[in-house]
Amino acid sequence: MPDSLALDPRDRGGLQQPLLIAHDLRKHFPVKGSGGKSVQAVDGVSFTVGKGETLGIVGESGCGKSTLARLLLHLVKPDAGELVFDGDAVGVPDGIAVGALRRQVQMVFQDSYSSLNPRMPVRDSVAFGPFVQGEKKDEARRIARDMLGKVGLDPELFGPRYPHELSGGQKQRVNIARALATGPRMVILDEPVSALDKSIEAQVLNLLRALKRQFNLTYVFISHDLNVVQYLSDRVLVMYLGRAVEIGPIDAIFERPLHPYTRALLASRPSMDPARRIEVPPITGDPPNPIDPPSGCRFHTRCPFAESVCETSDPVLDAWEGPQSHVAACHIRDPLSGHTRSRKA
């Protein structure tokens, strides 16, 4: 938590300044042969990540979570929008260069196998980051050994192995070591545990928690699994079809979800209590086509409370007002929207 956080020597703005501000990020992928249409993978997403916190990002498959993660590292160039890292705008003349950003932000990928070079012993994969960032080969190797130990893998036993000789959980530990080897301040975790089985998942989550404390890290944690997000996150951003529909502190979101989509997501969690089975599906149908998203509120095609105003006008997500603000992009929340439920709310 931020209160116990020691300041990183690279810190510039103090604890009050968010580590990362994303403003109106946009990425549309053109679809070949469609006559200029494009997949609106990320369509105007804004959020902030405070120093030392974990921001969870949840949403269905295909809602743009992974694209958003890649935008944050400029692995995919955004079409529009700004990124501000610790007060410096990313990739603009007066700001922080993309290369410098990548020294402070790292990423862990979902597929633990394809994110390791199959022809490289894992210690070399871990040492690669420090090496390209200017460390001598020996020093990079020493860091790699050190990091492998930190993630719970014996460097002598596991360092010389190739990825195919490791289990899924071990490979994901190597990936975490690789991300941390360059000494980042922020780590973007793109579904890091969704390919692991439950017992390994728990080990990796606990590891991530411990490493965050040890290295003063800030996490952006992307997942479709609400339980996992709840365990690790301080705040949550809910995405639907390329847009952020709700942002708020973890407890507020889970106890008082504002957006009908968030409610549906929470209701779709399998119940641990056999007496409280889910009988009615909380949400039906597939998400609409992101090439041709619905007009107005993008959720209106599946929303139980949709009215005519939802088809015509696009609800806005209120501006960020500090770490405790809990906002949703829904007409029901807006007394002036004309939605019949909005007055009661």
Partner: protein, 302 residues
């Protein structure tokens, strides 16, 4: 806190580590280990080695001068007056000519493939990794060369530049660049889409560094196996060029050339006339099998 978390074990224990029990070896150690346990590859490698050293030491082991002709001793069978493998249509010793011919044929087999792998491989890796227009430009140019059958292309190029060994090699090199480039490009495109390339980019590594450390190692395997299979094709094509009079000129001994001149005498001494063909056949099939074994041994994922 959810139920899954309660199962978690304390951190810092190496709980998963007892699983794999294989010995940890270095890369080359494990390659040699696998080679040692592959008798088929070892046998064929020995044959290739024998052929190569026979060609290299031809002046030392050849029993006769390969250019010495004899009017009376033409087209004699095996073992005639000390000519172990008989004589050719000008009475020259077949064994000596086969030994010397190996020098030319092996050179024509290896050199064009080596140069083509370097040039074609580099073009393919760069095109495949950079993608976009430069890749399209490179690959469409290669497709133009692809449109011609390789024999025809080699004959056309060698014919246009005139005969001789150097021109023959140049023609073969040009013929092998497009397929080599294609193989490298395909392998690179496959590798480029994987997350570890993205992870390398996320560390801020430059394109050239990523290619050097992460792409080349993964592309080398396919390129290597394809190159070694081309060695036999190259020997055959070189023989074909010499056969047509576009490669080596008589009286220099070359397996293809020898096959060409001896074919008229196939009914007189069939066994002797078949010898150059047999040499080509053995060399190419051994090269193929050795390359196959090497590829298997070099694959760390096996």
């Amino acid at each position: 806190m959810t139920d899954t978390i309660a199962l978690a074990e304390p951190l810092g224990t190496f709980e998963e580590q007892a699983l794999p029990a294989t010995r940890v070896r270095g890369y080359w150690q494990s390659v040699f280990y696998r080679l040692r346990h592959d008798p088929v590859t070892l046998i064929f490698a020995a044959i290739v080695l024998l052929v190569v050293s026979a060609a290299i030491f031809a002046p030392l082991i050849a029993p006769f001068d390969p250019y010495k002709e004899s009017i009376v001793g033409r087209l004699k069978p095996f073992g005639w007056r000390g000519h172990l493998l008989g004589t050719d249509e000008l009475g020259r010793d077949m064994l000596s000519r086969l030994l010397y011919g190996g020098r030319v044929s092996l050179l024509m087999g290896v050199v064009p493939v080596l140069i083509a792998s370097l040039i074609g491989g580099l073009l393919g890796v760069v095109g495949g990794f950079v993608g976009g227009r430069s890749n399209t430009a490179i690959m469409r140019t290669m497709d133009v060369f692809y449109a011609f059958p390789s024999v025809l292309l080699a004959v056309a190029i060698a014919g246009a530049m005139g005969g001789g060994m150097a021109n023959g090699m140049l023609a073969l090199t040009l013929v092998f660049i497009p397929p080599m480039c294609r193989v490298a490009e395909t392998a690179t495109t496959q590798v480029r889409a994987l997350d570890f390339i993205e992870a390398a980019r996320a560390t801020g590594a430059r394109t050239i560094t990523i290619i050097r450390y992460h792409v080349l190692g993964n592309v080398l395997g396919p390129v290597f196996i394809y190159a070694s299979s081309l060695v036999s094709v190259s020997i055959l094509l070189a023989s074909g060029l010499s056969f047509l009079g576009l490669g080596v000129r008589p009286p220099v001994p070359d397996w293809g050339l020898m096959l060409s001149t001896l074919r008229q005498s196939i009914y007189v001494v069939p066994l002797v006339c078949g010898l150059p063909g047999l040499a080509i056949f053995i060399t190419s099939i051994c090269c193929n099998l050795v390359s196959d074994g090497l590829r298997a041994a070099m694959d760390v994922r096996m």
